[in-house]
Symmetry: C2
Subunit: 228 residues, 2 copies
């Protein structure tokens, strides 16, 4: 009864190996977009399945229960982002040797990879940045996921800042880092708020404008607090 002209509705599809597990990625991408917009509890598996063009049961088949899916979505680009930030920092360190890297360059190594990502063809990065803002500001997810996937990177950047600002107390460095993290989160959450706030003068999606001002803004803040 198999091998009919029209493909069966049920059962394994006549898989070209090209779209092998391409459905898995469709699920992740749709989940990324929806979680970023509505948060964990604001997304139902049925909405997600519909957005991904996939049956509900397939989500569980690929990614297990909802929480695990959320973690997978968050982790995916965290790893990529960490690597890019790290290589940017290493490059700056190499360029500066034997001197310590100046503060601006450290901030730049931290922020530019986000700008590049957001301006890339892959629309998913925009969603991921909004998701990052959601997680970072959530008392439920923040301490769990941010620590799990980003703390290692924090240590590296704090160490670099410590060398750039030798007079700074550690507490100063961590607090300033925290301000930077907050400014970054909101800016790349892309909520459209600045558009309304500025009566149309500034645009949320003008990443160039956002970053070009943000880097000197943050660097000056660090210096003020940590060079006193």
């Amino acid at each position: 009864m198999s091998r009919s002209k029209t493909p069966a509705k049920v059962g394994r599809p006549r898989g070209s190996e090209k779209d092998k597990s391409e459905r898995g990625e469709r699920i992740l991408n749709a989940a990324e977009a929806l979680f970023a917009l509505h948060g964990y509890d604001g997304v139902t598996l049925r909405t997600l399945a519909n957005a991904a063009g996939v049956d509900v049961a397939l989500i569980n088949y690929y990614f297990g229960p909802k929480q695990q899916l959320f973690d997978t979505v968050f982790k995916r680009r965290a790893q990529i982002l960490n690597e890019e930030r790290l290589t940017a920092l290493r490059a700056a360190q190499e360029a500066a040797t034997p001197n310590p890297v100046p503060v601006e360059k450290i901030i730049e190594a931290f922020l530019r990879p986000l700008e590049v990502a957001q301006e890339s063809d892959d629309e998913g990065w925009k969603n991921y940045c909004a998701l990052l803002a959601y997680v970072n500001n959530s008392a439920v997810w923040g301490p769990v996921l941010m620590s799990k996937h980003y703390n290692e990177l924090v240590d590296v950047f704090i160490e670099a800042l410590r060398q750039a600002l030798p007079k700074a107390a550690d507490a100063d460095l961590y607090w300033c880092y925290h301000y930077m993290s907050g400014a970054m989160s909101l800016t790349f959450a892309n909520t459209g708020r600045i558009d309304k706030m500025s009566h149309g003068l500034c645009r949320s999606d003008d990443f160039q404008a956002a970053y070009d001002r943000m880097i000197p803004f943050i660097a000056a803040g660090f210096r003020q607090v940590c060079e006193a």
Copy 2:
């Protein structure tokens, strides 16, 4: 059949006018705490009713449907906060006349009322600050609620900053304001992240430490970008 010794379970309670609508406030306070922690969709009316020690139906009776309740919760302290920020700014302006208020004082007028609120006896302010972070970073709620309840204040503070930084382009001012808003949000979201990140050195609930560094940090950022 009324007037039995034990008060009836159903029907209007033997109201002392003291707790008149005190149940309404209990609902708002519980809602504030829960929405701040779990977001709009993460809170069910039954959980809320339970936390407030109240029947589910009473929520709708007092505040209408869920969305309207959310708006009411958000609006309540927005008004208070706006007033306090405004009087702080007016005081700074009076103290500085005929000169424009220096940047630090403007930032201070914007941020200190939050510190005072968070350090007050009213625990609700802590929850409200976390709620503010949630709303501010949400693409769904941010542009609606933030604009509705805070845009008027933005205009006033931007005008003050414009006078303090006469060389600045308006776009610079709005972007810097946005960075400030983000840094503030995350800091007062009180997620406990900085505690983990700093290996226990800094504490999320050390508001004094947070603000004393934040004000010079932000002010220096403004100057750097807007005095070039």
